[in-house]
Assembly symmetry: C2
Homo-oligomer: 252 residues x 2
């Protein structure tokens, strides 16, 4: 697991709330190794409040005196910056760096280094980093909150690591024969209620097909739409209950 080899390093963080938020963001994205370099006198009540269920990461944080100590056992050290300039020419986005970070984290420690809330990392601190990251942001307001910047970087790593399995459609896309059966029933229904006549039926059914064809249509969706047609036909014809082999409307 590459993610367990990725360390978040905060240089001189000022606010306990941010540190707590970062613990939660790390837990959300499968990270757990937090190192603080010479933190300010942090409000730990606020840190615990913002960490919510990630207090274990907060409690297991390591505090060191210098950035060099925090990076001593790390291969890659990715420094974050919002500014371009000297030493900052070769910066890339989190998404661009992510494959390189995960590759390096397969065999060794990787640090993501974040600067102080008010002024970021100094040139001397950036020089200790092997590479530079810039989070994409609007030129009108490029400076992200510290915890937000950490979240974006961790999120990119978590998504790329690929352990998250997106939820899947529970119902498969319906087969062509089923869909055609539905259109046959709808045509019968629309004629029966006088919504269209035989002359205009083909043209109107193209419109109906367009509406249903614009997006995936699952077996469940088709069952609902066939049940609707069946129920309308039953209601307008004779009010007799549908025959037993044709069940009534389904609930979604």
């Amino acid at each position: 697991m590459s993610l367990s080899n990725i360390r978040i390093v905060l240089v001189n963080p000022l606010y306990g709330g941010n540190v707590g938020s970062i613990c939660r963001a790390m837990a959300n994205m499968g990270l757990s190794d937090l190192v603080l370099v010479a933190p300010a006198n942090l409000d730990m009540d606020e840190a615990r409040m913002m960490a919510v269920a990630a207090k274990d990461i907060l409690e297991r944080r390591r505090v060191v005196g210098t950035l060099g100590e925090a990076l001593a056992d790390c291969g890659l050290a990715m420094g974050t910056t919002v500014r371009a300039g000297l030493y900052r020419a070769h910066v890339r986005t989190p998404r661009e760096w992510t494959p390189r970070i995960l590759e390096a984290a397969r065999t060794g420690k990787v640090a993501l280094v974040f600067g102080r809330e008010n002024s970021g990392l100094t040139n001397e601190e950036l020089a200790l980093c092997t590479n530079l990251i810039q989070v994409p942001s609007s030129p009108d307001y490029p400076s992200l909150n510290l915890a937000q910047a950490v979240m974006v970087c961790c999120y990119e790593l978590f998504v790329a690591e690929g352990t998250f399995v997106p939820p899947e459609e529970l119902s498969p896309e319906c087969a062509g024969a089923t869909r055609e059966h539905m259109f046959t029933m709808w045509r019968e229904m629309l004629l029966e209620i006088g919504f269209m006549n035989e002359q205009k039926a083909d043209h109107m059914m193209l419109g109906i097909r367009r509406i249903f064809g614009r997006n995936p249509l699952t077996d469940d969706d088709v069952r609902i739409m066939m049940g609707l047609a069946r129920q309308v036909l039953w209601k307008v014809r004779d009010g007799a209950p549908p025959p037993p082999d044709k069940p009534g409307p389904e609930s979604p």
Copy 2:
């Protein structure tokens, strides 16, 4: 600009700090349309503090009584959820939905709907949404802070909108002839200082080539490495200053 058509809707937000953080995240990612549905009695001092330079978005927020009002002029309404379950089967990640959202936002308003901090959106509220979003997160702690969830969604939209121009290398990758010239100078230097002898030179130069070949090498990089070799040769041979057509070491 699609982003100006994308609205962030917060249903019953409880904490002013989160609302302020969301204003900042929106400004960072080029969004500005914020609607609050029946907010709690928010701590506005905290909201302004966390909004930092995005106070204009906070001041221009619209407050409505029901989610229906917030969505009245929206085409797509994307509801966010962390849970799977009834009504939640067809959920997708922000990255999967982003092209659809940007497409819809070219011609109309799109809402991204976020629930209360402690309990998310109700099934009734999710039913008012046209589609569902789930932010990828660790099964060990899937629940993101509200402002963090908003940031991830806005970040995906901003990146996909493609207005952010990543910083470029200021120096182009060096040409093969220049690189070979550098290796010739290094070979001469390494022989001169006795780091290798003629018998082992070819083998050692393969190692040197591997080190420099592993990553891009720019004109600037090569100039530094050629300057180094020139300076070593000068120092160990006679201490005479390098001829005027061969400048000394460059600063990075």
